[in-house]
């Protein structure tokens, strides 16, 4: 409610500015819809995404909007449930008549909405990780985050560099971890690495030492890779230290937020993970094109919400920017034109990396988008 009011005030102010300036005051606002998992098990993703969208749309309207039109944002919370996501997607399309949809914080909610979106022919930018969203390519569906396959590949190539050939996998049995697990199993052979132990935990398990003990006793394990987000990986990390397991621990990009370090405490020392440049803006080379973008975004986000920025917030930022640029280039909100322009996105510098899409690639991130970081003294250190 508070946000609605705030949004309303912003809209009114923006309208007033437009009216005074005499620019396109009669123009209808551009409507962007979003369904996100702001509550439920995936609120870790959905909450920062929602905050980011709201903040940047308000900012945009203050600066005059796009094409001389204000932008109106309609956000629904799907609680992480696929059936709710599909109903809200329908609501956005049919009832709110939005021009473009951002969202689906999780792969499940995204996939649940895709049949509707393809039928309704409306441009859609997903914020979820799995490869299946853009492979095979679906005409109206795009996505901004790195895929879980890219994360797995980054980790495996780092392991290969270190001469590791036998690893253990421990993953969460909910969407993110399960999908990451399956992708890891699919690509691991390309790196000459063998998975000799494969364990699973539930996101709310209080203790995973049983699974870790099994891994510890599996012969020849040289490194452990954990795929999950939320409190699970922090518990894995703490239990890992408790059992004083000697081999290196790798995490996925799912933990690339300061919360993880805060929860796992000292146990997180030495953990390696793939992460976007966003978590280490200061350490990026001065020549890195991403540097100014991520530095600015981090600063704005942290000033607005007094909490550490996470990669997930960055996905929403990228999605919104790609959409707005495409709308500006299309010169209208004609759905087919906007779709074509999103597909033509080229050289966009986002928080996730450089994005160049094509008719065969609706994500457009190169593997270079990931950096390997290591946790030292409670902070991220770039290490690749």
């Amino acid at each position: 409610m508070r946000n609605l009011v705030k949004l309303g005030v912003v809209t009114v102010v923006a309208a007033g500015v437009c009216a005074v300036a005499g620019v396109a005051s009669a123009a209808e606002p551009i409507k962007i819809g979003a369904f996100l998992s702001a509550t439920g098990p995936a609120s870790f993703l959905g909450e920062p995404e929602k905050k980011t969208l709201e903040m940047y749309v308000a900012k945009l309207n203050k600066d005059g909007g796009v094409l001389g039109r204000k932008v109106e944002l309609v956000v629904y919370d799907d609680g992480g449930a696929g059936d709710k996501a599909s109903t809200f997607a329908k609501r956005l399309i049919e009832s709110d008549k939005v021009d473009l949809i951002i969202g689906g914080s999780t792969t499940g909610t995204t996939m649940a909405a895709i049949p509707l979106i393809e039928r309704a022919q409306i441009p859609f930018i997903s914020l979820a990780g799995a490869v299946v969203i853009v492979e095979p390519v679906k005409k109206w569906v795009f996505k901004t985050p790195h895929t879980d396959r890219m994360a797995a590949e980054k980790v495996f190539s780092d392991m290969k560099k270190k001469g590791i050939s036998k690893i253990a996998l421990i993953s969460e049995d909910a969407g993110f971890g399960k999908s990451g697990h399956d992708q890891s199993v699919a690509v691991v052979k390309n790196y000459g690495i063998e998975i000799v132990a494969d364990e699973v935990y539930s996101p709310k398990d209080p203790d995973v030492t049983a699974q870790l003990t099994k891994i510890k006793n599996a012969p020849g394990v040289q490194a452990v890779f954990n795929f999950g987000f939320g409190q699970g990986p922090a518990i894995v990390t703490k239990n890992y230290k408790q059992l004083s397991m000697p081999m290196p621990l790798y995490q996925s990009h799912g933990v690339a937020s300061k919360d993880y370090i805060r929860l796992a405490g000292e146990a997180s020392e030495g953990v390696r993970l793939p992460a976007a440049g966003l978590v280490v803006p200061d350490q990026l080379a001065a020549t890195d094109p991403q540097k100014p973008v991520v530095t600015a975004f981090k600063k704005e986000y942290e000033a607005a919400f007094k909490s550490d920025v996470s990669t997930f917030a960055g996905h929403a930022y990228d999605g919104l920017q790609i959409a707005l640029v495409a709308i500006a280039r299309a010169g209208s909100v004609d759905k087919a034109k906007v779709r074509d322009e999103i597909e033509k996105t080229s050289g966009y510098v986002g928080t996730g990396g450089l994005v160049s899409m094509s008719p065969t690639d609706h994500m457009g991130l190169s593997p270079a988008a990931f950096h390997m970081v290591e946790i030292r003294k409670g902070d991220w250190v770039l290490s690749d």
């Binding site: 509550t39 030492t209 059992l243 919360d259 805060r262």
Partner: protein, 291 residues
């Protein structure tokens, strides 16, 4: 091999003690009102969240813990006063839905009052693991065992040695008879909710350093606590403890020797089997139907 087994056992005991503490709250309320309070997990969450956020904002730990217990008790009393008491004479199912509504309400309130992030408390006595014959245990797990033990003894004393506790037990056996001998049923109900909320808070506080907490933490703890209480036999505090430990150990051994993906399922299969053969749980009273 033995070291591995011992580690599985420790893992199971840690989880099990947490489930047991959650289960105790169900047992107390059931004892005095035959009500299953599906908002019990939320008391645990409130205890964990308020102590964690208070400590984070600079309040000394002992004060934060006492405040958290008071806050949770206040929530328990409010729930009883405004939602359970007015519906006292309704069907059991009706009251179940009220408590489910209450749990949704409390989760909604928690995400407004606090936030949706995970919070933690520093471990009470450090984070150096204790080694026992090749396996390790965190000091905080010992705290959980100790607190469960103290709680069980304290409850036994309360229900068997104090007048008020005996009155509460009496009410559960026969409401009308208790009323006739002058036990205030309303007071007993109120006390049982306050007590189980307090217990929930204690549980939430001691487990937060291990499991962390957020506004939804109560769901899983509530579910496991309910399972523990039913497995042990409803209304039996000791049964809830044994039930919780069995569930926890079954999960740990299942992930150690069978399949970690199916450990929760295996725990439920065990509960189902126990119920098939002992329809009132392990230590439940034989039910007799009134005709």
């Amino acid at each position: 091999m033995f070291a591995a087994f011992l580690q599985y056992l420790f893992s199971g005991l840690t989880s099990g003690a947490i489930y047991a503490l959650a289960g105790l709250g169900f047992a107390i309320i059931y004892n005095s009102s035959q009500v299953i309070n599906f908002a019990q997990g939320e008391f645990i969450m409130i205890g964990g969240m308020s102590s964690a956020t208070l400590v984070a904002s600079g309040v000394p730990m002992p004060l934060a813990i006492s405040l958290a217990m008071l806050i949770s008790m206040a929530a328990g009393i409010a729930l009883e006063k405004f939602a359970i008491e007015p519906a006292r004479n309704s069907d059991v199912v009706t009251i179940i839905i009220i408590t489910i509504g209450a749990s949704i309400f409390m989760r909604g309130a928690a995400q407004l009052i606090w936030d949706k992030e995970f919070h933690s408390l520093p471990a009470f006595s450090g984070e150096s693991p204790i080694a026992v014959m090749g396996a390790t245990l965190m000091p905080q797990s010992l705290w959980v065992f100790a607190v469960s033990g103290v709680v069980i003894v304290a409850l036994w004393w309360f229900f068997n040695r104090t007048m008020f506790g005996k009155a509460m037990l009496g009410t559960s056996h026969n409401r009308l008879a208790a009323q006739l001998v002058g036990v205030g049923v309303k007071k007993v109900l109120l006390a049982s909710f306050a007590l189980s909320a307090l217990l929930g808070a204690v549980g939430g506080i001691v487990v937060t350093p291990i499991t962390f907490t957020n506004y939804e933490a109560g769901i899983m703890l509530g579910l496991k606590g309910f399972s523990a209480a039913v497995l042990g036999g409803l209304g039996n505090g000791g049964g809830a403890i044994v039930g919780g430990l069995i569930v926890g150990i079954a999960e740990a051994l299942a992930s150690g020797y069978l399949s970690s993906a199916y450990k929760d399922a295996i725990a439920f299969v065990i509960i189902l089997f126990v119920l098939f053969f002992m329809p009132n749980g392990l230590f439940g009273k034989r039910g007799t139907d009134r005709v």
